[in-house]
């Protein structure tokens, strides 16, 4: 009698232990799941949560900051190497251009319980991706430095410049401002933000003809140059990681950086005094504009077209489980601004929430935008180095873009 009781207790204990996984298991019987994703903490959490419900399906994941370089070739293969790709506004475009991802309508209907309508990315009425987190670039500031010098928290880039000049004049910091100005993608992204803040349009309406060589473009470049002058002279080699290091060494008091990096800035690593004084605020506006000089980004999952329906189904079920997971959102509330139901924003989400409130625009999801981004990244460098005029730089960007767009058949 006693023995059986013990057994019962043991079994119920075991059930309790495995109960969590039994709860997570979505009863996926077959199929193989292989995910390609960028590498930052929130995405790791998301994929781990999906893995928790893989059931008896095969599960593989590749986290890489080089994901953009792998995605198109890997998904072009038939069968595709990956069954799913975690994409963002910009990286979904090449997949759409090449017709490499599948519509998710049926799967959402069948297995998408708990996914909110606002999470669905629909293009031409078809669901092409399911978003789960939002991101943007916004201001970070050192509360102690600003307070000591009696500077108010800047709301515009003009104020950022004035504040940085004041900090420099005080002799506290030589290069008080930082942003990811590394030549290439990062620098182009800063231009895109600033240009949108000026109210600029990249293309003539409804066409792929560039239209950045105008007064707004010139103003954008001049603002970037002013900010660059207040940054470490090596700014053209600094990516997000490098400026994060600058910040943690206490060399910088004002910075424009991704919201998704706030977690690593505010963790317990590094100088406790700097961490305590690190504060977040919304993105800045520029030139008297209403909308912030920043772009809104979503991260979401897409499914490869060149993969069997069974794999797609298994992958969707696992990822959908994570994309509607209230427990994950509660546990990892400070890792990202989740778009999932039940998310309660914490202090690290201020940037994104402010950006949304200020009606920031999303990054343009246009088929030819990647070419423009690429041209910007290399052609505006010489202007920042003081080797050519803003007009010449913008003319170069347009010319470089047009050659590429012609080769790609957009013009």
């Amino acid at each position: 009698m006693r023995e059986t009781n013990m057994k019962k207790i043991l079994i119920s204990l075991l059930l309790l232990l495995f109960g969590t996984s039994a709860y997570a298991d979505c009863n996926i019987k077959s199929g193989s799941i292989n995910i390609l994703a960028n590498d930052f903490p929130a995405l790791r959490t998301f994929v781990e949560t999906a893995k928790g419900c893989k059931g008896s399906a095969d599960f593989k994941v590749t986290h890489s900051s080089e994901h953009n370089k792998i995605a198109v070739p890997a998904l072009t293969a038939n069968p595709s190497e990956f069954s799913a790709r975690i994409a963002a506004n910009s990286s979904i475009v090449p997949l759409m251009n090449q017709d490499l991802i599948r519509p998710l309508d049926d799967l959402v209907k069948k297995y998408g319980k708990g996914i909110q309508d606002s999470q669905l990315i629909t293009i031409d009425g078809k669901i092409m991706a399911v978003a789960f987190m939002a991101n943007t670039q916004h201001l970070y500031y050192r509360e102690d430095v600003l307070k000591e010098l009696g500077i108010a928290v800047p709301k515009t880039y003009e104020e950022v410049v004035a504040a940085s000049e004041k900090i420099r004049a005080s002799g506290k910091m030589q290069y008080p401002y930082a942003a990811a100005y590394k030549a290439g993608w990062n620098l182009a992204e800063e231009f895109v933000n600033m240009y949108i803040g000026h109210g600029g349009e990249f293309f003539k309406a409804g066409t792929a003809q560039p239209s950045i060589n105008n007064a707004k473009g010139v103003a954008t470049l001049n603002m970037l140059k002013k900010l660059a002058g207040l940054s470490n002279p090596d700014y053209l080699t600094h990516d997000s990681e490098a400026i994060k290091v600058e910040w943690e060494s206490g060399n910088v008091a004002l910075m424009t950086l991704w919201a998704s990096r706030s977690g690593t800035l505010l963790d317990d690593d590094g100088d406790a005094k700097i961490t305590a004084a690190t504060k977040l605020t919304g993105p800045a506006t520029v030139a008297g504009g209403n909308i912030p000089a920043a772009t809104l980004w979503w991260d979401g999952f897409t499914l490869a077209k060149n993969r069997s329906d069974a794999d797609a189904e298994a992958t969707f079920r696992a990822l959908a489980h994570a994309a509607a997971n209230k427990k994950m959102v509660a546990d990892a509330a400070d890792q990202a601004v989740w778009l999932i139901e039940g998310f309660k924003p914490g202090p690290k989400s201020i940037g994104v929430i402010e950006a949304v409130k200020m009606k920031a625009k999303p990054y343009p999801m246009l088929p030819q935008m990647g070419l423009m981004h690429g041209a910007l990244g290399s052609e505006i460098v010489e202007f920042l180095q003081g080797k050519e005029s803003a007009e010449q730089a913008l003319k170069d960007v347009e010319a470089a873009y047009m050659s590429k767009a012609k080769e790609q058949g957009f013009l």
């Binding site: 031409d124 009425g125 080699t237």
Partner: protein, 342 residues
């Protein structure tokens, strides 16, 4: 070796070369003559968490039909070669007509991506190759004169730069020249200029990359020269010593003529390697100040979200042509010598 023996001896290598070098080059060449089909786009409604907009997408139904008919793309002839991002024939003509002075014209041309990259590539070749030869030769001569007991460790130390992966080697130097790195900080002290940054100035970046190139490539020249020095016959050297020739005279009149073919060989390989300079640009994050032809190819293939196969292929083909032109004088000379020798 009789021709027939040579043929059978060479056959496996030749087949492998055709398979792994020849065919890819041909395929790249074909690719370079094609561009993407005209994109058929349509206006659609796009919705995301931040709202809905009307915007354009590529019309897949229509595009896939065109793609199936002609998978290679649209024939473009030399279109990609002469466009603004490559040889820019039209633009150069326009600059010639529009500019007032030759200096201005050169400024305009060197502002074009291909010529910008070509100038860096050639400058790199021009400075690195002779210095590699010279430094390699001097090290080989010096090591050859050192007592045998410590030669082994010395040789190992000397070839270290070649053993270190280029990317790692350049990264190490990159951190050292950082404003807070050991070289960067000391230079600032030495020059008494707290704003001095090796990475922000174009000239200093070029110099850094060139010095890195010399450091990285010299061991190769050294190893080959050192091996060649072992074959220098001792009798003429001894005779020269008896005749009272100085060390320089011995090197100039006996050693150099003896290892001359090896010098040509090292020069050839070195030129080819240097023309394809790539890793240090990535390692030094120098994309802003220095672009090479190989970097342009890389940029077209991976830095864009859309892969520009045509552009990359065209630049590859022109790199091959560039190397052929650079090597031509040496090759012609070797061929002539070969003919006279027969």
């Amino acid at each position: 070796m009789p021709n027939k023996t040579f043929f059978w001896f060479f056959l496996p290598t030749g087949l492998a070369m055709i398979l792994f070098i020849g065919l890819p080059i041909i395929s790249t060449g074909i690719q370079s003559f094609y561009a993407q089909h005209d994109q058929v786009v349509k206006e659609v409604k796009k919705c995301d968490p931040f709202g809905c907009t009307v915007s354009i997408v590529v019309d897949q139904e229509k595009t896939s039909k065109i793609r199936e008919e002609k998978p290679l793309g649209k024939f473009n002839g030399f279109g990609t070669y002469v466009d603004r991002n490559h040889l820019a024939i039209k633009e150069i003509g326009k600059f010639w007509d529009e500019t007032n002075s030759f200096g201005e014209f050169v400024d305009q041309v060197t502002n074009l991506p291909f010529y910008k990259a070509l100038i860096f590539t050639l400058t790199y070749c021009l400075f690195v190759t002779p210095n590699v030869l010279l430094l390699g030769f001097i090290i080989a001569l010096s090591l050859n004169a050192v007592t045998r007991r410590i030669r082994g460790p010395l040789i190992f130390g000397t070839i270290l730069p070649m053993i270190v992966t280029p990317l790692v080697g350049s990264l190490v130097l990159f951190w050292m020249i950082d404003a807070e790195g050991i070289i960067g900080a000391n230079l600032q002290m030495l020059m008494d200029d707290p704003y001095l940054s090796l990475k922000s100035s174009k000239t200093l970046t070029w110099i850094t990359i060139i010095i890195y190139g010399i450091w990285h490539h010299s061991p190769f020249a050294f190893v080959v020269f050192y091996a060649a020095l072992q074959t220098v016959p001792q009798e003429p050297v001894e005779a020269a010593i008896i005749d009272g020739a100085s060390r320089w005279q011995r090197v100039r009149h006996i050693v150099l003529p003896h290892i001359y073919p090896v010098v040509t060989f090292v020069a050839l390989i070195s030129l080819m390697d240097n023309f394809r300079v790539f890793e240090p640009i990535i390692g030094f994050s120098a994309e802003g100040s220095a672009q090479s032809l190989s970097w342009l190819i890389y940029d077209n293939l991976v830095n864009e979200e859309v892969i520009l196969f045509g552009s990359a292929a065209a630049t590859s083909m022109m790199t091959i042509v560039g190397i052929a032109i650079l090597l031509a004088p040496v090759l012609i000379r070797t061929w002539k010598e070969f003919r006279t020798a027969r």
